[in-house]
Symmetry: C2
């Protein structure tokens, strides 16, 4: 837990200090699963990560997590997350996606983090972030029920390169023309192996399944249990 | 009205055939106000344009409109609009924003359009489209009530370069943590002259004010009434 907010800004002079593969390997060796979280603006990335931190904080022997959060400007998201989890705000100065050098500087600002989960909350954008490997083990895409179930085929690369689809804002389902089944079917046309996790960060529905999915996936990818 | 859907695709070889200023001038001479519509994916651009076409179609001597609609892939939006208005689908093949050469090809596919309003529905993205002048007279940004009222300062360029902010999905206001006043105040910090138009394309609330705003703005910019 930390209420301190650190902000790192894009350094346009910085060369990539290492490849995404090297970053991923370093995190693997520490036992840290790196999760790159993508979505449109306002789909609920920050709310999901806050709900995840709250869920785990209430449990004994829960995984430790930290968040590197990206935006064009402001440290608003880091301030929302700071009561619940260690967090570093990254600002891109207008760029539409995160790149590895900024993530590495944010990781350094976080200190010697060796917890089980490092979440990278990307800039709100369904297009550009899909083309950039940030050294993550797992790419998670959020689609909120208010965005419409016709989005997968319209933004194919984001869906094709992700391993999990979180359908967020399930609490609004009674008020919007959205079918979880239709969205999942459209997404599976593009990426048949996509795990689909409907949830509401507002009322907590599905948060336990989401956290269980993360823990199972970490064990499967890193070959380690949380207890190790 | 046309139920025919034409699709034009990005031609990566095409040089810009004319400048945005030249395109704007040609449209001014025809009496056509060009409106570039920006938002996140799923904020309701297509629904707003369909509601606009329906509103005008019920009125005598209403303005004539056409829509050029952009997406990475699919002609889904054009199919939604085709029952209500002439429309051409533009697909960018993965690019995160529209550029003028594609708009000009779509305009040619539309034929000799000399109606009062040409809407360009940009790719769903709050970042990249803000940096590209498509020859519009008016840039309109949609922010849906489900995206959160903290977005303006986080995506400053889109707000700074727009003349109007449509707050969409007003029907969902009872169910989401969103204040129209807070969003407007945040946006006015960035662009004090921004017109703010709250509405719901679903239940029709605010659509008349939106259409009146468009007609007044056209008269003010082009110096012509719709009757001319």
């Amino acid at each position: 837990m930390s209420a301190r907010v650190i902000t790192v800004r894009r350094d346009v002079q910085a060369a990539a200090r290492s490849s995404a593969a090297e970053f991923r390997l370093r995190c693997t060796e520490r036992g840290t699963l790196v999760v790159n979280v993508l979505s449109s603006p306002g789909a609920g990335k920050t709310s999901l990560l806050a709900a995840t931190a709250r869920f785990w904080s209430a449990r004994e022997n829960a995984p430790r997590m930290a968040v590197l959060v990206g935006d064009l400007a402001t440290d608003r998201d880091a301030r929302r997350l700071a009561p619940w989890t260690p967090v570093v705000q990254m600002t891109t100065g207008g760029a539409c996606h995160l790149e590895l050098p900024l993530v590495e500087r944010a990781m350094a600002a976080l200190g010697d983090f060796d917890g089980e989960f490092l979440f990278i909350e990307n800039v709100g954008n369904l297009v550009c972030p899909a083309s950039h490997d940030l050294g993550e083990h797992l790419r998670v895409l959020l689609l909120s029920t208010t965005e419409g179930d016709d989005k997968p085929a319209k933004y194919p690369k984001a869906f094709r390169t992700s391993q999990a689809l979180v359908v967020s804002k399930l609490d609004l389902l009674p008020y919007v023309p959205f079918s979880v089944q239709a969205a999942a079917a459209d997404a599976h046309e593009i990426q048949p192996d996509l795990a689909v996790l409907p949830l509401s960060a507002l009322n907590g529905q599905g948060i336990d399944e989401w956290c269980r999915y993360l823990e199972t996936t970490r064990t499967s990818i890193l070959g380690q249990s949380n207890a190790e």
